[in-house]
């Protein structure tokens, strides 16, 4: 379970999150929606531990652990996974090499043995097949020259292999065509389980037709201003964010 209480964050003296509260239960898929600049991406970065963000107040607790006291790699080992909106390129490092390094690094911090090479390859091949990732893509340098759809599929592949307990999808639908959206969504849905929760950040209802959320939270001006069931997303799609922008101004 993830609990965020009264989170206040600024970057370069600009206040982005203003006392945000959010709870995501085990096995829950929570969608975060909201207009541009409402702090959605900042929230994902702060949970994952990106530098540059100054946390002024509040706490983020994942399964009893205080994430704010941990380094990004420790948070990853504790179960946090962030699927990036813009995945980074690592030139010269084959995707396979990267996957193995990441998996073994996490196993090491959890006190587990390294994976044997055959075991590793078996896992990767199985997961890659589900996401329709061809083998030659795994040999190419990570994300270098990948199309938008390939990058997002690679993110979900990593999510599948690292077996996190708390997954954040930061606008995973951006830049995806319909087929890629279907593949990615099916990949995510296959990972839904009672002990894994998701925070799905998106602008659009479209993604939520594929990944159906349990709860929907609307963010505005650095706070969750409304929470509801999946029907709230449909309402937003119909009415836009106008109501919430007003509340921001008020």
């Amino acid at each position: 379970m993830l609990e965020i209480k009264n989170l206040v964050v600024q970057i370069e003296d600009k206040r982005i999150l203003n006392g945000l509260n959010l709870t995501v239960n085990n096995g829950e898929v929570a969608a975060i929606m909201g207009p541009n600049g409402s702090g959605k991406s900042t929230l994902s970065y702060v949970i994952a531990g990106k530098e540059d963000y100054e946390v002024l107040d509040g706490e983020i607790i994942l399964d009893g652990q205080n994430l704010l006291e941990m380094e990004p790699d420790q948070r990853a080992a504790a179960g946090v996974f962030l699927a990036f909106q813009y995945p980074l390129e690592i030139p010269g490092v084959a995707s396979m090499t990267f996957l193995k390094a990441a998996m073994n690094a996490q196993r090491k911090s959890r006190g587990q043995d390294e994976l044997s090479t055959p075991d590793f390859i078996k896992r990767v091949n199985a997961a890659a097949a589900k996401l329709e990732i061809p083998k030659d893509m795994l040999k190419r340098a990570l994300n270098v020259g990948f199309s938008g759809g390939e990058k997002k599929r690679m993110e979900i592949l990593q999510m599948a292999l690292l077996e996190p307990t708390f997954c954040i999808l930061d606008e995973t639908d951006s830049g995806l065509d319909i087929d890629a959206l279907r593949i990615v969504s099916e990949g995510v849905n296959a990972l839904r389980s009672p002990d894994r929760s998701f925070l799905v950040i998106t602008h659009y209802q479209r993604l939520l037709n594929h990944i159906v959320p349990d709860t929907v939270h609307v963010m505005s001006a650095g706070r969750v201003v409304k929470s509801g069931g999946k029907e709230l997303a449909l309402e937003l799609e119909a009415n836009g964010y106008a109501d919430y922008r007003e509340s921001e101004a008020a």
């Binding site: 994952a48 990004p72 790699d73 010269g92 490092v93 998996m103």
Partner: protein, 490 residues
């Protein structure tokens, strides 16, 4: 497992005990007086039992050297060297050698540990001098190993021996080629080396012979002998092939601060020489005190048509590196290649690169240089590509990439391009990049620690060059690069 250990195991299986004896005479230290003079050179030459022509050659070099001034164009700075305050032959140790590993800098020990070097070998590398060292050294110098390898090489007709021996045993060959690539008058440090060199390696591969082994294994055994002023000469006769590997990934304790080696390669028609170096000499402490000055002249001559010379280097050590392994592409259709990884951290200064001199027709060259600067180091690539007016169809491709880690280091690229032939095509690409915070965050988000992330990104950066190294060495070099950069982040 480092290859050295394999050698030890191999030697053990041959039964080393019989070679313990007759060793002590070798330990005796003989030394020339401090400083440089004609007498010292005569002393060195006499010690080596050299013929008269060799002495004359040395003395000639010395006279030249006296008229020369130390070069100052490199982007490095250091206190003036007093050349009369150096022992040029069998320098006695300034400090007593450590009696056990307990007395060795723990920092160095940690590095050994990370490289997975066995204790016994650590002692040798650290220069520990307990009684048992004799036996261990005997293993390394073991006549038996030398003989085993020598016999195999002899079968192939390859001559491989210390150059001092070659001067006595194959004077005609040595005389024909020594100084033919790096002339006695070439530069301040090469001329100094010509006057005072004490040893190094000599290789001759006869026509049509493919040398049956990487000359690394053997070389490692002999490495103890490589001194301050090393001289190496490799000749690949027509249609032959040889791969030679110099150096060691483990940092070596060395009393001599100034190293000025000369390496000459000669490739005749259709011959190929691959020369790989891994250099990890002591870089000095955090303030930059005490590291090695590595002022090396390395040059290959593609003398015959269709000949190929490839330099591959991984440079992580030394306080100052001044080194430009070069190729003279004299033969038509000859090819020169230079692959380099230069890592600098702490207070290290690197000024390194290559020269590709296109003289023959349709000659080609390729330069791939990867400089990585961290800490407060300065890392300069300096390269020359030139085409003589007769070098029609000359082609060069150069790619120089620099990677900066942190914000207190510097990377510089200084390419010189001279073309006197209109048909020459030279391409130059250069990039300077920094490991971005976003890349680091991405890797860390996947569970890699800061240091693991840096090592991974750096290894991706140098991949093109690592692939050029012999397999066993590529793995060690990769580890070495990670270790060299430890503590460079955060």
């Amino acid at each position: 497992m480092p290859a050295v250990q394999e050698t030890i195991d191999q030697v053990r299986s041959i039964d080393v005990d019989q070679y313990k004896y007759g060793f002590e005479t070798e330990v005796e230290m003989e030394k020339a007086p401090k400083g440089l003079s004609e007498d010292v050179i005569r002393f060195i030459s006499a010690k080596k039992g050299e013929p008269e022509w060799m002495l004359a050659w040395r003395l000639d070099a010395y006279k030249r050297w006296l008229t020369m001034t130390e070069p100052s164009w490199a982007r490095v700075s250091y206190d003036k060297i007093d050349y009369n305050d150096i022992y040029y032959y069998a320098a006695p140790k300034k400090n007593p050698a450590p009696k056990s590993l307990d007395e060795v800098d723990p920092e160095i020990l940690r590095t050994y540990e990370k490289l997975g070097i066995p204790l016994r070998e650590q002692e040798i590398l650290a220069g520990v001098e307990p009684e048992r060292r004799v036996a261990v050294d005997a293993v390394f110098d073991s006549v038996s190993v030398a003989t085993t390898f020598k016999e195999e090489l002899k079968k192939a007709g390859v001559i491989f021996m210390p150059i001092s021996e070659a001067i006595r045993e194959y004077p005609d060959l040595v005389r024909q080629y020594l100084g033919s690539v790096v002339p006695v008058t070439d530069n301040f440090f090469a001329t100094l080396n010509s006057a005072v060199f004490t040893d190094g390696s000599f290789v001759y591969v006869p026509p049509g012979v493919r040398c049956p082994m990487e000359l690394s294994t053997y070389f490692r055994i002999n490495e103890k002998n490589t001194g301050q002023f090393e001289r190496t000469l490799i000749i690949a006769d027509k249609g032959s092939y040889v791969s030679y590997l110099e150096g060691c990934t483990a940092p070596k304790r060395d009393e001599n601060q100034l190293h000025a080696a000369v390496v000459e390669l000669v490739a005749l028609d259709d011959a190929e020489i691959k020369y790989s170096t891994v250099q990890n000499w002591y870089p000095g402490d955090a303030e930059g005190r005490g590291g090695i000055y590595n002022f090396v002249t390395k040059r290959g001559d593609c003398r015959g048509k269709n000949s190929v010379i490839t330099w591959t280097q991984v440079e992580t050590g030394s306080a100052i590196t001044w080194k430009y392994p070069s190729c003279i592409l004299r033969g038509d259709n000859s090819r020169g290649e230079f692959y380099s990884i230069a890592v600098s951290n702490g207070m290290q200064q690197v000024d390194s690169g290559t020269k590709m001199i296109h003289l023959g027709k349709n000659t080609t060259s390729r330069i791939i240089s990867k400089g990585i600067a961290a800490g407060k180091s300065e890392n300069t690539y300096r390269g020359l590509v030139s085409a003589h007016r007769k070098a029609s169809g000359a082609r060069n491709f150069t790619n120089c990439d620099s990677l900066l880690i942190g914000n207190q280091c510097g990377a510089h690229t200084v390419p010189y391009i001279e073309s006197k032939n209109a048909s020459a095509v030279f391409e130059h690409e250069a990039t300077t990049s920094k490991i971005s915070e976003d890349q680091m965050f991405y890797c860390q988000q996947r569970g890699l620690s800061e240091e693991e992330a840096t090592a991974l990104i750096v290894n991706g950066f140098v991949k093109d060059v690592l692939q050029q190294l012999p397999m066993e060495f590529a793995v060690e070099a990769q580890k070495l690069i990670s270790i060299s950069l430890e503590g460079s982040v955060g």
